[in-house]
Symmetry: none
């Protein structure tokens, strides 16, 4: 922990505490002591309390994007690329408990700005291209991007939601079941 920079320690402390208690139930003083810095120090790195979570959101979304794109082979079927990316995101949310919960809370807050939405769009470009490829190759039906995006993100978020509230256990079987239904829903049925 102490190998991190002060700024990183502040951000991580904020992430942890906000996730556990919520933004307004986490005083700056609590963040300071969790991070092992003076309260005033926080204001050297961030304009105010809100700026911490905004920067946190940026960093986490960047990480999430990297995690999403990781381990995707150059040559891969549309089906598998969908699956791998979908699993990458799910894994990130599940393995990075605080980050996952944080994002869920952040996007549900009334402070979410148009910018955030725009950024998300920008980061989803690769998904848009994947869909186009699938349609061109006649592997998935010619449905609107939004339709598919709703499926991908909707199931991801709901799985995560049930997971963090301990309503389900995420097993490989469940994962495969859900992905199969997803793929069956969008693929072209070549069988005659």
């Amino acid at each position: 922990m102490h190998t991190k920079t002060k700024k990183e320690r502040i951000m991580y402390a904020t992430l942890k505490l906000i996730t556990e208690h919520g933004f307004h139930a986490t005083p700056v003083s609590m963040i300071a002591s969790e991070a092992g810095v003076g309260a005033g120090t926080i204001y050297r790195y961030f304009e105010n309390k809100e700026a911490i979570i905004n920067e946190l959101y940026d960093v986490i979304l960047k990480e999430l994007h990297e995690a999403t794109m990781a381990n995707i082979p150059e040559i891969i079927s549309v089906r598998d690329e969908f699956f791998l990316k979908w699993r990458n995101i799910l894994n990130y949310f599940i393995e990075r408990e605080y980050e996952g919960k944080f994002v869920s809370q952040y996007v549900a807050s009334p402070f979410i700005s148009r910018t955030v939405i725009y950024e998300t769009e920008r980061r989803n470009v690769h998904l848009r291209k994947l869909i186009e490829r699938g349609i061109k190759l006649n592997e998935i039906r010619d449905v609107d991007y939004n339709t598919i995006a709703v499926y991908m993100w909707g199931t991801l978020k709901q799985l995560h939601y049930l997971h963090i509230n301990k309503a389900i256990e995420i097993t490989d079987e469940l994962i495969n079941d859900i992905y199969t239904v997803f793929w069956e829903g969008i693929r072209v049925h070549h069988d005659k």
Copy 2:
């Protein structure tokens, strides 16, 4: 507005303001003046500020349940029952702007309790039965309840999320597209 009871006015004012500004950015004094009552009056009807939102959540979930079950004919195909209920929920979330946003925020907050999850389960019993019926009639594949529930709620929430953030426009076409993908994903393909 003034035909409502004081308690209803307080609850509605809270719903509106919290949805717009968030729980902690909505002082009790603001709720009081929006509701047209004295600040102290609120404490005749609710133990404290938090109790308002808990009761709000209860009331809204009851309403949502009623809306879900409305207009479902006695005799109806599994496909159509799924569709009608799914649309009912979506309509409720979209038509009742404040209620919809409120629920989204509430379930994402770190205060969501096990009780909430349990209540949700209880209210989803009808969905469980519908799935059993579909499987027995060989209309949908024999998949786990959770798999289907994740689909239903995941797509609903994501559509709603994109809607309230003005990222998409919800058209009949989109609705049908999405539902078709959902149904194609779970139905049994009788074609040979």
Copy 3:
């Protein structure tokens, strides 16, 4: 209880609750419900909350005075008259738990007025006469009234204080011991 008038019920409820919780920890609403009347009703009988305790104090001091003078034979020695009155007061304080505690709190409060002191003086006139009689009869030493009054009231209050705080048990033996010391302290020693 319900045979009493409303005013008496209000006063008794106040006496009980204030004694147990203190003046400011006893809301008028609590007094109302303990007395079995509406909160507004209290203001028909008393100008405000403070007026209740002032009237209570008056009533209790009147009662205390009557109790002090009770059962004193016409013809009685100075020693016995002292003793009987002293015991009468002690008994009143001990038997009437709420009244005793109330008076203790009231006289220690910063609101005690000169009037209260004056009233006390007035009610102690009989004690002054008793002392004069004792001196004239050469049964007690020629000491100042205040000296003896300090003794009487000081020991009484302290016994009561220790009693209500359960620091001592008031037995006949203790009573006699204390009174003996008192009497030995003021009597004329006729032995040569």
Copy 4:
């Protein structure tokens, strides 16, 4: 005043104001401005308002104990030791107006705890020993500790009570009178 620490200033302001107006008639804001600090500062030093008076009571009782034991020669008669200690306490109460009144109010409040009584007992050990010495030396009669303690404290408190309510003037003559009665009451009469 400004040479004291902030904590001391807060405590002294509380002592003064509470003594004059009573605990509940003294808002924290009033204490803050009397002490010359911000309202929030008080909560850096004390958990809440009540904690101030509890700590005040502790400090004052420690001071009182020290004052009680001051200026007592190593070799001193039982009579004189009683007298000196009794006078020390009386002087403390009279000279330290606020402290004296504060203690009177505090011990009469309904919040006085068993702990307080226990503490008092502990601090009275020296008195217990003095009584034992007096009895062993056959200077005072073999009376119960409580009997004598009731006398000491009862007269002290009553003198103080009359003093702060301006009902008497405390003169050396009165002091001697009262002490003489006390001593006559407990000493062994060696004259035959």
